[in-house]
């Protein structure tokens, strides 16, 4: 226990830097909307900025970067199952959409 406690002491400066970075990334993602970017550029920017912010929060603020590998794997691998759900539901949604176009218009 003392070992893990010792691991989690980081300089305040690190948190301030990440904090500033999160502010910059949030401003950038707001500007994506403000300047009305459209199409692939918009989706790409939104996803990249979102993943960067999420990664910073999990790795630094939640100390995942310094956690033991067993915990990292137990927490970060299961959410991948959500991607399967997203894949299934998007094909289902396409099917519903086409059916509605055929019968409810």
């Amino acid at each position: 226990m003392t070992e893990t406690t010792a691991h989690q002491q980081h300089p305040i400066g690190l948190y301030l830097k990440v904090w500033a970075l999160l502010f910059v990334l949030s401003t950038l993602s707001y500007l994506v909307d403000y300047f009305h970017f459209q199409g692939h550029l918009r989706w790409g920017l939104i996803i990249v900025l979102m993943l960067l912010k999420a990664g910073l929060i999990v790795a630094v603020f939640m100390h995942m970067a310094w956690e033991r590998m067993a915990l990292i794997c137990a927490i970060l691998i299961p959410p991948i199952a959500l991607l399967v759900l997203v894949g299934l539901m998007s094909s289902e949604a396409d099917y519903t959409f086409l059916t509605r176009l055929l019968f409810f218009r």
Binding site: M1, T4, T5, Q8, Q9, H10, I12, Y15, L16, V18, W19, L22, F23, S26, S29, Y30, V32, D33, Y34, H36, R42, W43, I46, I47, L49, M50, K53, A54, I57, V58, V60, F61, M62, H63, E67, R68, A70, L71, A74, I75, P78, P79, L82, L85, V86, M89, S90, E92, A93, D94, T96, F97, R100, L101, F104, R105
Partner: protein
């Protein structure tokens, strides 16, 4: 049977961290699936509707000085939540240095920002309800907009409210010296995990619901 009990009950430990921290992580993992299901169902109803989806950029615009600024309230809410995450990270840092007064003070600041976020969300909800947005329909477009909006932001707001209460309770106990006997301030890091998770979920909601 006896063998199975022996295998599962012996002194085995998979996660060599404090049990409270491991449990909070597992709770957060289950919460990830809850929000994952909400966002996935939102994706499903949005991509299967034949009625155009209301443009969030216009729906959440505010009139400031006569001109319409798109999504400004949501941007401010995002900054407030990130700021609260920053103060929480500092509180955890102070707790590790066993500086309980500063840690508790920063936790109160965090709770204050959290409360501010909830108030802005209440304002946003009232504004949308006045404009006629209901879970079963709205004047701007697809009826599913209302149900997705109230469900996702409502559940997130509930998490923020619970987090504010949790923060205040732990900060008061910390100030009163409740954790002096065990000499262990681990609880501050556990509250911190929960709070950062609330911020993390907002990152995804902001990207998928408001910007998409």
């Amino acid at each position: 049977m006896r063998q199975l009990i022996a295998d599962w009950s012996s002194d085995q430990q998979a996660f060599h961290v404090a049990w409270g921290k491991a449990m909070m992580w597992i709770f957060l993992l289950s919460d990830t699936f809850i929000f994952g299901c909400f966002l996935t169902s939102y994706m499903t109803v949005r991509s299967s509707t034949t009625v155009p989806w209301p443009n969030p950029s216009h729906v959440f615009a505010l009139n400031i000085g006569g001109s319409e600024v798109p999504l400004i309230l949501i941007a401010i809410m995002t900054f407030v939540l990130i700021t609260s995450s920053g103060t929480m990270a500092m509180a955890v840092n102070f707790a590790y240095r066993r500086d309980r007064v500063n840690a508790a003070a920063l936790m109160f600041v965090t709770a204050g920002f959290g409360e501010m976020f909830v108030c802005m969300q209440a304002f946003e909800w009232s504004k949308l309800i006045l404009e006629g947005v209901r879970p079963w329909g709205n004047p701007m477009g697809a009826a599913q907009f209302g149900s997705s909006f109230f469900m996702i932001t409502g559940f997130h707001g509930l998490h923020v409210t619970a987090g504010v209460i949790y923060l205040v309770v732990i900060a008061i106990r910390l100030l009163r010296g409740h954790y002096e006997r065990s000499g262990n301030y681990q609880i501050v890091e556990i509250v911190g995990l929960y709070w950062h998770f609330v911020d993390l979920v907002w990152v995804f909601i902001f990207a998928f619901f408001y910007l998409w």
